[in-house]
Amino acid sequence: MPAKIQYRDQIFDVRSGMTVRAALQKLEISPESVLATRKSELITDDEILQDDDHVRLIPVISGGQR
């Protein structure tokens, strides 16, 4: 079963067994621009994606009002 990575309104299927960082590179998402969470807990990007994992990415780049 693939793992799922959610980024904004999109959900991507990625192969389990790879790290979060490798999955981000595959999806062409800068690891510097997001925080990864699993079950609402922050995780580091060396975590290995498991079958049926659902990782949600929190965008951190802001450009709005200060």
Partner: protein
């Protein structure tokens, strides 16, 4: 990956510091680093009366939270810009700011631009030449002016903003790409007070944006995650993306670019054309603030123009 301090599971890896930390140690580190920055960069003294410019975003709410933890007496200031675009962006960001203030028993002052000046920022942008219909220029001018005025009228020692290192590095890149010497001169984590202008400081200027976001998430701070709808094609976001590409290949590059600039700036002879230059003698005929812009300051001139153009026609005309 394990926490370098305690060996438990890490939640964040800060590659530029070669430092991975667990949630508890990260939160402690973050508060200590803020305190260290305030002292190292002589931003303000312990006991200073602080006004925090609050947008409802992660940086400003995290900053307000940390300053309270450090024991600074501080109130929040929210400027209601009236940005809607169908997503009620301003209303939702204000709700985040107000909810945070209520939850933590803190005082939030709200200044609503439409109520006090007769037009929202997008409406004002439509009728002024400033920014050619794009609200960012009018927005920046208005926020800076109103924040400064609120801080002066409230008798605060310092106005602080949540600018992080990514903000500063993106600004630096834009200023350097265009060699905007006046802006390069005035880009600093501290702008000292001078007549008509409150002291301004950026206590988060050494943190990466990921770190301020992680602090807000780990503290359970409910902040507005969307960007301002008008910032989608902003140059600052483009520069942030470019810098993050470099940072991915070379951890610490973003930090070195900005912090080396702060060191180098002290060795550069500027001519005093920026905000750090000498104040002009001229005063705005409307508000009395020192101005380089002629009879009126840019804020008063812009908003006088907006009010004139928004004035409803008399019946029969």
């Amino acid at each position: 990956m394990k926490c370098r301090k305690c060996g438990r599971k890490a939640v964040i890896n800060m590659r530029q510091h070669k430092l991975a930390l667990c949630a508890q140690d990260f939160l402690t580190w973050f508060v200590k680093q803020t305190e260290r920055t305030i002292h190292r960069d002589a931003l303000f003294e312990q006991g200073s009366n602080v006004l925090v410019a609050v947008s409802g975003g992660k940086d400003s709410l995290a900053l307000w939270h940390v300053l309270q933890q450090l024991g600074y007496p501080c109130n929040g200031l929210y400027i209601g810009l009236g940005i809607d675009d169908g997503s009620a962006y301003s209303d939702r960001s204000r709700a985040c700011a107000q909810q945070f203030a209520d939850q933590h028993g803190m005082n939030l002052k709200v200044v609503d631009v439409a109520a006090s000046h007769g037009a929202t920022i997008p409406e004002a942008a439509q009728v002024t030449r400033r920014g050619a219909g794009k609200p960012c220029s009018v927005c920046g001018l208005t926020r800076r002016y109103l924040m400064n005025r609120a801080a002066l009228e409230g008798g605060y020692d310092v106005l602080v903003t949540g600018h992080n290192l990514d903000d500063e590095a993106a600004t630096l890149m834009g200023n350097t790409m265009n060699w905007l010497v006046g802006y390069l001169e005035s880009q600093a984590p501290l702008l000292p007070e001078k007549p008509g202008f409150v002291r301004k400081a950026k206590p988060f200027h050494r943190f990466y944006e990921r770190e301020t976001a992680a602090y807000a998430l780990l503290r359970g701070i409910d902040y507005i995650q969307e960007e301002c709808p008008y910032s989608a094609d902003a140059k600052s976001i483009y520069y942030k993306k470019v810098l993050n590409q470099i940072e991915t290949d070379r951890p610490g590059a973003k930090q070195a670019f900005y912090l080396s600039f702060l060191q180098a700036r002290d060795q550069i002879q500027f001519t005093g054309s920026g905000e750090r230059g000498p104040l002009p003698d001229a005063r705005c005929s409307t508000c009395g603030q020192p101005t380089r812009g002629g009879r009126q300051c840019a804020f008063c001139s812009t908003w006088q123009n907006v009010r004139a153009r928004n004035k409803p026609l008399e019946p029969g005309r």
